[in-house]
């Protein structure tokens, strides 16, 4: 309990906290080992349910009295399903085990829980400092993170409100109700918090605008639409620590004078929907949501609204329209939602991460928050880093850390000794940055200046075998399908961008296409109505600016430097390396393009080859005879011997 909160004793809350602490103590003091299993969507997708079953069965079989504690996601996706085993009797500290399959679960139960052997070869690290096992905080992936929003994710059971309260959750409410709404707004303003939904609009001033609207009914919306491909931080937070988001919503509602809040979650997130719905119910039962919260006479209802999963519905005005029952189409701003939002009422819309930052700020003070991150972007940034890195996953870092530190130190760099080529930040609205930008600090303004965008925090790292033209094509395919179809530039313009990019990746592009790409991109940016259209050309503009060589190679030489564009590559078999009599690649070719040459080596019939690359995978590493080249003419032509053709027929 922090001293600040002690002063604000609130008998109702103290009673709840007392109960939470008693329960936590009972859990801690219960004899026997404790097994913490990550059970968010990512864990479940990697088999956490099966892992849990395996533990339960084996524990029962061996008659071990252990407690299983289901927790959310800890952000280390590469390690899923992860398990932390706390087995004090063994003399070891709590140990973090990655990739615990049911088989491993059985083994750990038998050997570690029953016999006390922690199986060093399977350990990632200890979660406490100790003499026997490396502490996880000695690894950059842990030590360089700064957890504010995700501090409790992966440590508490998201479906048990007492777990959150015992971890100091909801402790800001009692103190908050003793302050005026203006004071709360001032605190948030002083913290410099900027919205994590993409644009980085300052949160305090946003709340103030809504608070100043002299209207009876006001609303709060928590934006958990999260439609960017590859982004999953909001889902993870809702699934791993929903109450921290609710605590932020309550603070926002109190600050602006709203008595109704809506959590807008996409229906494709069934677990998140279930957990946040359950969390609201539990909070209601304890009087933390609903009428007369903690005796403050402040009322707040919180509802969950399931969006039907359109990217554009993450845009605030489209989101509002979709709650109102219309097709989710953005409208012109102003009026901004703080003036006229849902049902025409002043509405604050904030992202999940923004709202989850509120409780830590209220608890530790604005000055504390300002010390994290940079002058103009205080606090932390959460990225879902995917692609060609050793340790992908959710990462929370102080703003201002450079891309280089994030990619090479924290995420372990590029696997397979390959070279870094590009990093795509901000999803479909973001940009693709080259090596020269690796020392760019990660904050709202620096990224925007570089032509990328914080966006909602998707980050894709790409190695040298990447084609930036194809990446742009991928994102344009996405935005073009997700455009609401309302305005001319976005609906038709992005489609033309896509068809031109397709043409280039097929080797059919020309000089004029590059010019059209650039001009049309600028026009779409300047002419579109909403953020989707305004940012959709960013992948094209940045790749044209920073990877012009890629485009030129496609257009002038019909060559794909990343060797990703199928029409521009070819496979052939290096006869020097191919082992006589080896048949490994023959059977795997889906179109029977691999044939036997006159000296019993293999060749590829280019007229049949569909460039799937299966032969390359099948060729044993000791021969490594299959080559991939671009442009395709570089593949030497090997004639198919006459009789094999006959045989073939």
């Amino acid at each position: 309990m922090s001293p600040a909160n002690k002063e604000h004793a609130n008998p109702r809350f103290d009673e709840i906290r007392e109960k939470a602490e008693t329960r936590k103590r009972a859990f801690k003091e219960a004899p026997g080992p404790k097994i913490h299993i990550g059970m968010a969507t990512c864990g479940i997708a990697s088999g956490a349910l099966e892992t849990k079953d395996a533990f339960e069965q084996m524990l029962a079989q061996l008659g071990i009295d252990a407690q299983i504690h289901t927790v959310g996601c800890i952000g280390h996706c590469y390690a899923e399903p992860f398990v932390i085993i706390d087995h004090p009797e063994s003399g070891f500290p709590p140990i973090f085990y990655p990739e615990v399959t049911p088989g491993k679960a059985n083994m750990l139960t038998k050997l570690f829980l029953a016999e006390g052997d922690p199986r060093f070869e399977h350990i990632l690290g200890a979660t406490e400092k100790n003499e026997m096992i490396p502490w996880v905080m000695e690894f950059a992936r842990f030590s360089q993170e700064k957890r504010v929003v995700m501090e409790k994710c992966g440590h508490i059971d998201p479906e048990d409100i007492y777990d959150y309260i015992a971890a100091d959750g909801y402790s800001t409410l009692a103190g908050m109700f003793q302050r005026t709404p203006q004071e709360i707004i001032r605190e948030i303003k002083n913290s410099g918090l900027r919205g994590r939904g993409g644009a980085g609009f300052p949160t305090g001033p946003k709340w103030e605008l809504a608070a100043n609207e002299a209207r009876d009914t006001k609303l709060v919306i928590c934006n958990a639409d999260e439609g960017d491909p590859g982004a999953y931080m909001d889902r993870t937070i809702l699934e791993s620590n929903p109450h921290q988001v609710l605590e932020g919503i309550i603070a926002c509602a109190y600050a602006i004078g709203a008595h109704k809040a809506v959590v807008y979650v996409r229906a494709e997130y069934p677990l998140a929907v279930r957990i946040i719905t359950g969390a609201i119910q539990q909070a209601k039962q304890l009087g933390l949501v609903g009428k007369d919260i903690l005796g403050s006479s402040f009322d707040l209802d919180i509802e969950v609204f399931q969006g039907s999963g359109a990217f554009v519905c993450g845009e605030e005005t489209a989101l509002i329209r979709s709650i109102e029952g219309f097709r989710g189409m953005p409208r012109h701003r102003p009026p901004y939602p703080v003036q006229s939002g849902l049902w025409g009422k002043p509405t604050v819309i904030n992202n999940v991460k923004t709202l989850a930052s509120i409780a830590p700020i209220l608890k530790n003070g604005a000055a504390w928050y300002r010390k994290i991150g940079t002058e103009n972007s205080p606090g932390t940034a959460i990225f879902s880093v995917v692609g060609d890195v050793v340790h992908p996953g959710l990462i929370e870092i102080p703003m201002g850390v450079t891309l280089r530190t994030l990619i090479f130190d924290i995420c372990g760099g590029i696997p397979k000794k390959k070279k870094f080529k590009a990093v795509q930040i901000g999803g479909p609205s973001g940009g693709c940055l080259p090596e020269d930008f690796l020392d760019t600090p990660i904050d709202f303004d620096s990224l925007t200046q570089a032509g990328a965008m914080m966006g909602s925090g998707g980050m894709v790292v790409m190695d040298e075998d990447t084609c930036t033209v194809d990446i742009s094509r991928y994102f344009l395919d996405f935005t073009q399908k997700e455009s609401c179809g309302e305005c001319t530039f976005c609906r038709i313009g992005t489609f033309h961008l896509l068809t031109i990019l397709e043409r280039i990746t097929e080797g059919e592009g020309n000089e004029a296409d590059l010019k059209t790409l650039e001009q049309l991109s600028e026009d779409i940016k300047n002419g579109s109505l909403c953020g989707l259209g305004k940012t959709a050309p960013n992948p094209v503009l940045t790749s044209l600016r920073y990877f012009k060589d890629d485009y030129d190679a496609h257009v002038e030489e019909k060559r794909c430097p990343g060797m990703m564009c199928r029409p521009l590559v070819a496979y052939y078999i290096d006869l020097e390396k191919c082992a006589r009599g080896c048949d490994a690649c023959v059977g795997c070719c889906p179109v029977e393009a691999v044939f036997t040459t006159s000296n019993r080596k293999k060749g590829i019939d280019q007229s049949l080859c569909v460039k799937c690359g299966e032969c390359m995978v099948a060729c044993p590493p000791e021969y490594d005879a299959v080559r991939k080249v671009s442009p395709p003419q570089l593949a030497p032509i090997v004639e198919r011997p006459q009789q094999t053709v006959k045989e073939h027929k």
Partner: protein, 213 residues
């Protein structure tokens, strides 16, 4: 009343008037498709009515602006014309230009704009993409021609906001967006037969009452 200067022409209008309307009513033509006089919150979706206003960094859709005193407006700047031409070319790149056989010939929004902007009535910069389905005849009283439609949404607006009906909507997404009838002819009120409001506001004859074909 406020006074504003549009392309060096002094204009007096009521404060808060829609800027596009103020221009049009004072004989200053600005290309436009989606605005209808009296709209409370214009959709600003056709992205044609751009102007530059002194003090603003970027061209802005005039139908979203309310006039202020001393506003300085330029309707004919290189940035404005570039956006308008691109928008028109984009619309034409999905438009079945067949004026001779089109009921809208000579009273067509696209012809007007091409004449005004002195551009061709076909898009040379972009490939032409027409939808396979030439006409949607699923409505009992209306026919819809997707390759004429510019998706200005005027029809949806008059149906919903003026007739207080919900017969029309945007359907599909992205490039495939069209005007749809909710695919259910059972629930269509008979009054639809006589109304025609939607067909009347369509600038390109993409919605036509059935028997006029």
């Amino acid at each position: 009343m406020v006074t504003l200067l549009i392309d060096d022409k002094k204009i007096d209008v009521k404060e808060g008037t829609n800027l596009l309307r103020a221009c049009l009513e004072n004989d200053i033509y600005i290309p436009n498709l989606c605005y209808i006089k009296g709209m409370q919150n214009p959709p600003a979706s056709c992205r044609l009515c751009f102007v530059e206003i002194e003090g603003e960094d970027h061209p802005i859709a005039s139908c979203t602006v309310r006039v202020r005193d001393d506003m300085l407006v330029h309707t004919d700047t290189p940035r404005v014309r570039r956006l308008q031409k691109t928008a028109l070319q984009l619309l034409l790149s999905v438009h079945d230009v067949d004026c001779k056989n089109c009921p809208a010939n000579r009273k067509c929004g696209l012809q007007d704009m091409a004449r005004f902007l002195k551009t061709a009535l076909k898009s040379n910069r972009f490939d032409l993409f027409l939808k396979k389905n030439q006409v949607d005849q699923s409505h009992p009283f209306l026919d819809y021609y997707p390759n004429r439609c510019v998706l200005c949404g005027r029809c949806v607006y008059v149906c919903r906001d003026q007739q207080k009906l919900t017969e029309l909507t945007f359907a599909q997404r992205g490039f495939n967006t069209v005007i749809g009838f909710f695919g259910n002819s059972q629930t269509i009120p008979p009054s639809c037969d006589r109304c025609r409001a939607c067909a009347e506001v369509c600038p390109v004859a993409a919605l036509l009452p059935k028997r006029e074909i």
